[in-house]
Structures are given as structure tokens and as C-alpha cells.
């Protein structure tokens, strides 16, 4: 089944030096080609990453602190552009379109992001938070559509029953886990093609973490998910494919099952067995 990949992608993966076991995916939503990110001239924080992210699946990016996993994720929706000392080179294809050449606002609408710490907008009600993506883009929806969208998004993140009578209240009294689900609802309300999650459970307690993990497993039916995590067991529990990064390089990229049972690189094995990181 993995033979039907297009030639272009095989080329990329073969020329890559970094990925020792290049995972070839049939249906790629996101493709990294020679992606480098630097925070200071002449020094790359990420060195030439090549990989294709599978559509409709959860892809985990693992690695020790400072390995560049968040940096890689934030390159996708061009968050690095907010800081003018960060430079991104290479190609990042979202459905065969290079996001680095697209309009940044459009890219960000198509690639929703969930952050480490829940960041609902404190001045907006729960209802307005879900629709923030629309109001921030100046899109006005008819009332019925707004209500349907809010309900659907909140149902998708299993928050609807808890907040349906409080929609006009501000979200600040919600628990951390509820706030993070609200942020996921805000991201998916825009119907993005891919959901980028930057350690979305690192600020949450185990129960809330569990809720979010279950949620991701249902959300992957509609959205492709890339999740950065330094929690190996989380990656093992929920992801289909896993990337292992170390010192800014993509060391290994494989099916999660394969990587956890039979890692190809020694570094990966050392990390997974807890010898460093």
C-alpha cells in the first residue's frame, strides 16, 4: 500500500540524510522538504527536516527539551514570522501548496494551533471564543449559522453539556482542561485541514489529559493532527506515526508501533528507554 506514493515524495525521502527510516505515506496532508529554521544567522535550530505527514492520522513529534519539535511545528503555520530574527527555509507543503509562499493569514486559518497553556481570550464570552477565528478575520455569519457552529464545535470537544447554559459567560472560571478544550473548539470551528498541537496537555492534570487524549482520537476522523509531546507514553497511546527529533534533526520517523517496539536508531532507543531526555 505504500507504493502508491508520488514520485516527487520518494525523491525527497531518498535524498534525505537525516531520516534513517523514512516513512512513506500514501496520502500526505503536510510535507516538509529541507526545512531549516534558525534563530541566529549561521546557526540552525532545525537542520533540513524531510518528512510527510499522513492525512487523517495523529502524528506525534517527540524528543528531549530543546530538540526543535515545537520549532518545527510552529514553522507550519508561520508563527516564526512574528519574530523577525527567526528565519525559515525549505518547503512546507500543505496539500501540495507551499505554505511559505502563501498568504500567512490564509495558512493560519487552514492550520489550527493549540498551545501549551490554554489561552482563551479573557475578554470574550465562551460563545465568542469559539467564534473568535471568524470575528478576528472579519467574517460575519448569520445568527443561526453561528449558533450551530458553536454547538457543533463544543460538542466535538465534549464541552457542550458542561457549558451550554453558560455560553454568554466569560471562560475564565472554567478549569484548565475545559479551557484547553475550548481552545481546541476555537481552532476546529474554522474547519482547518490540520490541527497543530504544541504540548497541549503539559499544563493539565492527569484526568484532564486523559479527556484531551480521548478527544484527539475522535477528532482525527475529521482533522489531521500533529502533536508535539515530550510525554512518550502519550505518543504511544494516541499517535499513529511518530517522529523522533534530537538536536534539531529528525532522527527517526516511523509507525508508532514500529518505533516503540523496534526503533531503528540507537538514539531513539536510548530516548524511549529513558536513558536521556
Amino acid at each position: 500500500m505504500e507504493n502508491t506514493v508520488n514520485n516527487n515524495m520518494i525523491d525527497t525521502l531518498i535524498t534525505s540524510n537525516n531520516v534513517r527510516t523514512p516513512l512513506i505515506v500514501e496520502d500526505a496532508i503536510l510535507t516538509f522538504k529541507d526545512v531549516c529554521v534558525s534563530y541566529a544567522p549561521g546557526k540552525n535550530a532545525i537542520e533540513s527536516v524531510n518528512a510527510a505527514v499522513e492525512k487523517g492520522k495523529i502524528t506525534a513529534i517527540m524528543g528531549p527539551s530543546g530538540c526543535g519539535k515545537s520549532t518545527l511545528l510552529r514553522a507550519v503555520n508561520r508563527m516564526h514570522e512574528l519574530y523577525d530574527y527567526i528565519k525559515v527555509t525549505g518547503e512546507i507543503l500543505l496539500n501540495d501548496q507551499d505554505v511559505l509562499k502563501m498568504n500567512a493569514m490564509e495558512v493560519r486559518r487552514n492550520a489550527g494551533m493549540v498551545f501549551q497553556r490554554p489561552n482563551p481570550f479573557p475578554n470574550m464570552s465562551i460563545f465568542d471564543n469559539v467564534l473568535a477565528g471568524y470575528s478576528l478575520n472579519g467574517i460575519k455569519l448569520p445568527k443561526a449559522e453561528r449558533e450551530a457552529l458553536v454547538e457543533q464545535s463544543l460538542r466535538n470537544v465534549v464541552l457542550w453539556d458542561e457549558v451550554k447554559d453558560l455560553l454568554n459567560k466569560k471562560g475564565s472560571f472554567l478549569s484548565g482542561g475545559q479551557q484547553q478544550r475550548l481552545c481546541i473548539a476555537r481552532a476546529i470551528a474554522l474547519k482547518p485541514e490540520v490541527l497543530l498541537m504544541d504540548e497541549p496537555t503539559s499544563a493539565l492534570d492527569p484526568i484532564a489529559t486523559n479527556h484531551i487524549e480521548e478527544l484527539l482520537l475522535t477528532l482525527k476522523k475529521e482533522f489531521s493532527i500533529v502533536i508535539v509531546t515530550h510525554n512518550m507514553s502519550q505518543a504511544a497511546r494516541i499517535s499513529d506515526n511518530s517522529m523522533f527529533m534530537y538536536m534539531g534533526e529528525l532522527i527517526e520517523y516511523d509507525r508508532t508501533n514500529t518505533m516503540f517496539t523496534n526503533p531503528a536508531c540507537q538514539k531513539t532507543e536510548e530516548y524511549l528507554t529513558g536513558r536521556f531526555g
Partner: protein, 284 residues
């Protein structure tokens, strides 16, 4: 033991400050009493009389209250379109850059210039411009004072606003950007609502300064006892009438001036209180 001593010292210091404040209010009120007795508290506030002739001596504070509020609010109105962009420039758009530091420092420098210097500038530079433009014949009056006041309060409003703007968490800004917002949308819908009450507070502070500013206004407002009802009208503010007439006042006139000082005290306290109240409502 040491802890107890420290606590007592703190308590004494705060109590002392409170007593000084109370003492000031008391002496002001005591000095103002003859005027309030002679004309009645509310009649004094509502009257436009100002006649020091011994046979028909009569004083009222209305022209000066109006002059104070008129110049201060006009100054605030003029200051906002300058203070807010400067705050956005240094606090959001160019935050942390060299340009922001330089501009921030220059604006802060404006706050340190003594008001007599502003008064001289207003007298010798602004006033001739206003005469030349044909806006008013004498060049003195409400508008001239308000322009100089506006320049004086811009640094207060803008540097504090910039502080509040730069306190908006990066989390929220990135959250807005990640949803595809442009910088303008982000500022309008995330930064301003978050920093809104702080920005409001900084403008209240600026207004407070404009209400009490004395020297520059005294030099520019024209020092008449008219009820100022137009931009070109001359008049006096509460502070300027006191500064201008205190030297040769005695008896009932002196008491009337102290009464005006008492009212100015109340007015600034009320505006500060109203500001605090509105900020509280904002934050709910």
C-alpha cells in the same frame, strides 16, 4: 519582637499620612467656611459673580469650575489621538526595538519639562501662531491653554498606556494570530479589550494632571472672570485664579479662593473615584 516593631512603624507611617491628608482637608474647609457662610455652599458653586468692591462684595466659583473642566477635557480630547498611537507604537508595533526606546525616552522627557517652560513656549510660540491663523485676536483663552495642556499630559497617558499594552500576554497574541488574524484585528479584538481598563486609568491620571495644572494655564488662559463658553473665550481655571489673585487677597476674597481650592480638591477626588469605579466595571 522585631516584626512587631516593623509593623508598628508601618502603621505609624500610614496613619501619619492619613492625618496629614485629613489635616489638609480640614484647614481648607476651615478657611473656606466664611465664604460658604456668606454665600451658601451651592450658591457659591453656581454663581458667576466676582466683585471685590467692598460695598457689594460677591464671589462665585462657576466660571472657574467651567474653565477647569472645559480646558482639561478639551486637552484630553486633543491628547488622545496622539497618546494612543504613541502607546501602540512603543507598546505593540515596535515593542522592544531601538526606535521604540528612543521615542519612549523622548516622550518621557516631555513629562519632565517644568510647566513654566510650557507656559513660555505657549506664550511666545503658540500664541502668535493662533493670532496669525485668525482663530482668535488675543491668542489667549481656552483653546490655547488646552493645546499646551494636551502636550503636557500626552507623556503621562502614553507611557502608562504603553506599559499596559505591552503587558498583554504573548499567549493571547499568538492565539489570535494562529486563527489568521491580521495585526490590526488582533489589536482591536484582543489587545485593546485586555488593556482597556489600564489605558482608561492612564487617561484618568492624565486628566487629573490637566485639572490641577497651574503655571502654564495661568500664563495662557487670559485671567478674566468670564464664564468661558467658547473655544476662544478667555477665563480662569480654579488653579489659575488662585495663583493669579492669591497675592492681593484678604478677608472674604481670600476665603473664596480657599473655597475654590477646596472644591478643586473635591473635583479631582471625584474624578479619580469615578475612574476607579469605571475600571472596576470594566474588569468584571
Amino acid at each position: 519582637m522585631k516584626d512587631l516593631l516593623f509593623k508598628k512603624a508601618l502603621f505609624t507611617a500610614s496613619l501619619l499620612l492619613l492625618l496629614i491628608g485629613a489635616g489638609m482637608v480640614y484647614t481648607l474647609f476651615d478657611g473656606a467656611l466664611p465664604a460658604f457662610d456668606a454665600f451658601g455652599f451651592f450658591k457659591f458653586i453656581g454663581s458667576t459673580a466676582w466683585d471685590p468692591h467692598p460695598d457689594r462684595e460677591a464671589y462665585g466659583a462657576l466660571p472657574f469650575i467651567v474653565g477647569t473642566l472645559f480646558t482639561a477635557f478639551l486637552a484630553l480630547l486633543i491628547a488622545i489621538p496622539f497618546a494612543l498611537p504613541v502607546a501602540l507604537f512603543t507598546g505593540v508595533y515596535y515593542r522592544g526595538t531601538k526606535a521604540a526606546h528612543i521615542i519612549g525616552a523622548i516622550v518621557d522627557l516631555l513629562a519632565g519639562i517644568p510647566s513654566i517652560v510650557y507656559g513660555l513656549w505657549g506664550f511666545y510660540t503658540l500664541r502668535p501662531w493662533i493670532i496669525e491663523s485668525g482663530f482668535s485676536t488675543g491668542g489667549f483663552g481656552i483653546f490655547t491653554s488646552a493645546v499646551v495642556l494636551a502636550i503636557m499630559i500626552i507623556p503621562y497617558a502614553s507611557s502608562l498606556s504603553a506599559e499596559f499594552l505591552s503587558m498583554v500576554p504573548n499567549d493571547l497574541k499568538e492565539g489570535a494570530y494562529s486563527l489568521g488574524a491580521t495585526r490590526l484585528d488582533m489589536i482591536q479584538q484582543v489587545v485593546f479589550p485586555f488593556a482597556g481598563s489600564g489605558i482608561f486609568a492612564s487617561f484618568i491620571l492624565a486628566l487629573g494632571r490637566a485639572l490641577g495644572e497651574t503655571m502654564a494655564v495661568t500664563m495662557l488662559i487670559g485671567n478674566t472672570n468670564n464664564l468661558p463658553l467658547s473655544l476662544t473665550a478667555t477665563g480662569n481655571t480654579m488653579a489659575s485664579v488662585i495663583a493669579n489673585q492669591f497675592g492681593e487677597a484678604d478677608g472674604l476674597k481670600l476665603s473664596a479662593l480657599i473655597a475654590i481650592a477646596f472644591l478643586l480638591f473635591i473635583l479631582t477626588a471625584l474624578i479619580n473615584l469615578a475612574g476607579k469605579f469605571i475600571i472596576k466595571r470594566f474588569n468584571q
